[in-house]
């Protein structure tokens, strides 16, 4: 699976899609594949202020609990409530209907520190270390 162009990626396997002043955030195909069947997602409330790479929630598979890290600092302005009843959306469509939060990007320069699709692909090929 190719990692979509136009997104930026963290070393913790989150992606961010810049939409004007905002950024939509989710986890990558690699992440959902590693986790296996996702059964629970815990997301923050709207209004929460996050710093870059601050843990904003948790994604749980059948066997494991994993923290979610925000690729950039900002205020949470939207939360995907569909994941409450249908956490499997993260497995089925991690870049689409499996999106998790939208943040108002505080400092666009923080995006520069993230990986491009090619860099993320290379990162995975090297064993994601």
């Amino acid at each position: 699976m190719t990692n979509p162009e136009g997104l930026k990626y963290t070393r913790e396997h989150e992606w961010i899609k810049v939409e004007g002043e905002k950024g939509r955030v989710g986890i990558t195909h690699y992440a959902q594949d590693q986790l296996g069947d996702i059964v629970f997602v815990e997301l923050p409330k709207r209004g929460r202020q996050l710093r870059q790479m601050e843990a904003f929630g948790v994604v749980e598979s059948v066997k494991a609990v994993s923290d979610l890290y925000c690729p950039v600092g900002g205020e949470v302005v939207e939360v995907n409530s569909a994941l409450e009843q249908n956490p499997e959306l993260v497995n089925q469509d991690p870049y689409g209907r499996g999106w998790m939060i939208v943040v108002k990007v505080k400092n666009a320069k923080e995006l520069d520190g993230l990986m491009t699709a090619q860099q993320y692909t290379a990162f995975l090929e090297k064993g994601a270390k």
Binding site: G36, D37, V39, F40, E42, V58, E60, V62, K63, V65, E84
Partner: protein
């Protein structure tokens, strides 16, 4: 420089799991498949059709000799003298303080011949314990490395297996076993399992495990048989409220605290731990393994603290989603006054109390035919 880690042990079917693309994980020193197609899909297959598990990592000991029965009776809580030839029972191997060396199944092959099936992580410990405590004219032999064990579990298990064996499976009752050929291979076929469904466990020489695996998967494909890993094994057994050594039972909890009084047969004679357990039976237990379901939003997991009105009253030993029930469930030791069905308490999940309620167990019971 740190000491190099011992390489993981492999079952006779390791090559096949890897060839099928199973996700492999270390488990109790073994390289095991945790899933093939996905834990939820495998779980559902077992509940609606059938699943096939490689559990060859488990241990098998042969106990034999003129005094095999009394020697065995001294070490386990259940009454092996009640077993007919061809019958199986679940039992505990206990320390003198009534806690678990292991839980196991006991097969009676003959008047003075038994096979014990023990947990993979405890093989060396159990073998050493039994060797040390066997009295009289009885021997114990560890045949774990020569034995493959496959478990075929689910409502369609019998219809899948019957064409492969001359044994009349309708005549084989639950917790009974028989030698017989399966796919032309000599095996011991046991109507037992760790899923709460009907099913069969098949013991055969290690070198033939792969052939039996392939034969069963081929025969069962049309009926919806899926290969299943340890992930589904765990979700299935939890729904059926079957204990997992290391989580729900261990050497820090007694057989009565673990709510397994039914495998203790008080009148069968002396056994290690009897005195302590008898006292506990008379006085009552202070804490009890209790089944609960989540009421609030969250999943209880092993080691999470259980609180009542903010005060810790116990801890979760096993917990997770129950795919067949659409809710999250768990087991844990709680102070006995809070173990009654209907009692509510909270599970601390990442520091926040989430409501849970004690429910009757097993959480899931297979539908009666």
């Amino acid at each position: 420089m740190s000491a190099p880690e011992a390489p993981l042990k492999r079952t006779p079917l390791n090559r096949v799991h890897r060839a099928m693309g199973a996700k492999m994980v270390p488990f109790g020193g073994w390289d095991m498949p945790v899933q093939y197609s996905g834990i939820l899909e495998e779980h559902r297959a077992v509940r609606t059709a059938a699943g096939l598990f490689d559990v060859s990592h488990m241990g098998e000991f042969e106990i034999a000799g003129p005094e095999a029965l009394p020697a065995l009776q001294r070490l386990i809580t259940n009454d092996a003298s009640r077993l007919a030839v061809g019958q199986v029972q679940y039992a505990a191997l206990t320390y003198p303080n009534g806690t678990f060396v292991d839980d196991l199944t006991v097969y009676r092959l003959d008047a003075s011949q038994f096979v014990l099936t023990v947990n993979a992580a405890n093989i060396e410990k159990d073998f050493a314990w039994i060797r040390e405590h066997l009295r009289g004219r009885a021997t114990v032999v560890n045949v774990s490395d020569e034995t493959a064990l496959l478990a075929l579990q689910g409502p369609k298990a019998q219809e899948i297996l019957q064409p492969l064996t001359p044994v009349n499976l309708s005549g084989l009752k639950y917790y009974w076993f028989t030698p017989g050929r399966v796919a032309g291979l000599e095996a011991r076929i046991s109507r037992t399992g760790y899923t709460g469904e009907d099913g069969f466990e098949m013991y055969l020489p290690a070198a033939q495990g792969e052939r039996l695996w392939e034969a069963l998967l081929t025969r069962g494909k049309g009926a919806g048989l899926l290969p299943c890993g340890l992930g589904a094994r765990d979700t299935l057994r939890l729904e059926a409220k079957m204990a997992l050594y290391g989580n729900d039972i261990d050497d820090r909890h007694t057989v009565l605290e673990a709510d397994l009084g039914w495998i203790v047969k008080w009148e069968k004679g002396e056994f290690l731990g009897r005195e302590v357990l008898a006292r506990q039976r008379a006085e009552g237990v202070a804490r009890k393994l209790t089944g609960f379901e989540m009421v609030g939003r969250g999943i209880a997991r092993s080691h999470y603290t259980i609180v009542k009105d903010g005060r810790p009253i116990g801890g979760v030993t096993s917990g997770g989603p129950a795919p067949s029930l659409g809710k999250a469930i768990g087991l844990g030791y709680v102070e006995t006054p809070f173990s009654g069905v209907g009692t509510e308490f909270d599970i601390l999940i990442r520091g926040e109390p989430v409501r849970a309620r004690v429910v009757p167990t097993p959480f899931y019971r297979r539908p009666k035919k």
